[in-house]
């Protein structure tokens, strides 16, 4: 019984500690944060946000696989659904900004700045 059970566990889970996935998704998240802070192009800022969402997705899937609990993967499914809705509305807003200011530089939108 024991040997067959060992075979069924994916090799990555046997070899790679969960901490490595934690570090990978931290790095992806930080790259997303740096993108939001350094770029001025609204579309690239939006893509950096997508990168952060995906870092969190990877972490959820890693935890759910290591603990063999499917609920985490259902959660990722919902995050993807919400991200799709969010992207469609966000891009519509960016198109509207472009129509009004002829640019998608977020530096021009400074009415809320104090």
């Amino acid at each position: 019984m024991q040997p067959t059970q060992d075979v069924l566990i994916p090799e990555v889970i046997q070899q790679i500690p969960l901490t490595y996935y934690l570090i990978l998704s931290t790095v992806l998240f930080i790259i997303g944060i740096i993108g939001v802070l350094t770029r001025r192009n609204a579309i690239i800022i939006f893509m950096s946000i997508e990168l952060m969402l995906n870092a969190v997705n990877l972490l959820l899937i890693a935890f759910s696989s290591y603990k063999s609990d499917s609920a985490g993967q259902v959660f990722v499914f919902f995050i993807m659904a919400v991200a799709a809705a969010e992207v469609s509305v966000g891009l519509a807003i960016i198109v509207m900004i472009y129509r009004n200011t002829r640019s998608i530089d977020v530096g021009l939108l400074n009415k809320l700045k104090w």
Partner: protein
């Protein structure tokens, strides 16, 4: 360092595949942030999503790997490319942010990263090694997820359709041209 080398020697091809995919993911994610041309940014993001799907397959989450490619690399990225195409963003002038701002934000991000990694690697927060006793290998299979999705998570699943309807109406509302507006 020697500890890492020792770890390196215990790996089988799957372990090397993990390390290779990790390196590719991080490099293409950096490409998203550093590329001058938005088109290259989108292409790098698509590469990142494919690498992440590879990670999902390694983690035995086949369903989500497929959904990730279909939804992210397929639908969302096409939407981004479309927007870039018809806004005709070829100028690479902008980037008026000063070097000071850039250095400051990289320092802030780096500090946060070092802090988080230190926390995750601390002895007191070491994660217990997953017990292999009650391990279920088919966690990420379609059958298993479908039972859960249409069982305990049926209400959020139905509410997602309402969310999509609202998002669709909102996108059409925002994107529609008013009577006197310019086309683009």
């Amino acid at each position: 360092m020697t500890e890492f080398l020792a770890f390196f020697k215990t790996l089988t091809p799957t372990g090397y595949l993990f390390l290779l995919l990790t390196a590719l993911t991080v490099i293409s994610a950096m490409g998203v942030v550093t590329a001058r041309n938005p088109i290259y940014s989108v292409l790098a993001l698509i590469a990142t999503f494919f690498c992440l799907s590879g990670h999902y397959i390694l983690l035995n989450a086949q369903f989500l790997a497929a959904v990730n490619i279909i939804v992210y690399a397929g639908a969302i990225m096409v939407l981004f490319l479309f927007t870039i195409m018809f806004l005709n963003l070829r100028r690479e002038d902008e980037e008026a942010k000063t070097n000071l701002t850039k250095i400051a934000s990289v320092i802030v991000g780096g500090t946060l990263m070092v802090m988080l990694i230190m926390i995750f690697r601390a002895k007191s927060s070491q994660l217990p090694v997953g017990s292999t006793v009650g391990f279920e290998p088919n966690t990420g299979m379609v059958e298993n997820l479908g039972h859960l999705l249409y069982g305990s998570y049926i209400l959020p699943f139905e509410l997602a359709s309402v969310l999509f309807l609202i998002a669709m109406v909102g996108a059409v509302m925002l994107g529609k041209r008013e009577a006197g507006d310019r086309h683009f």
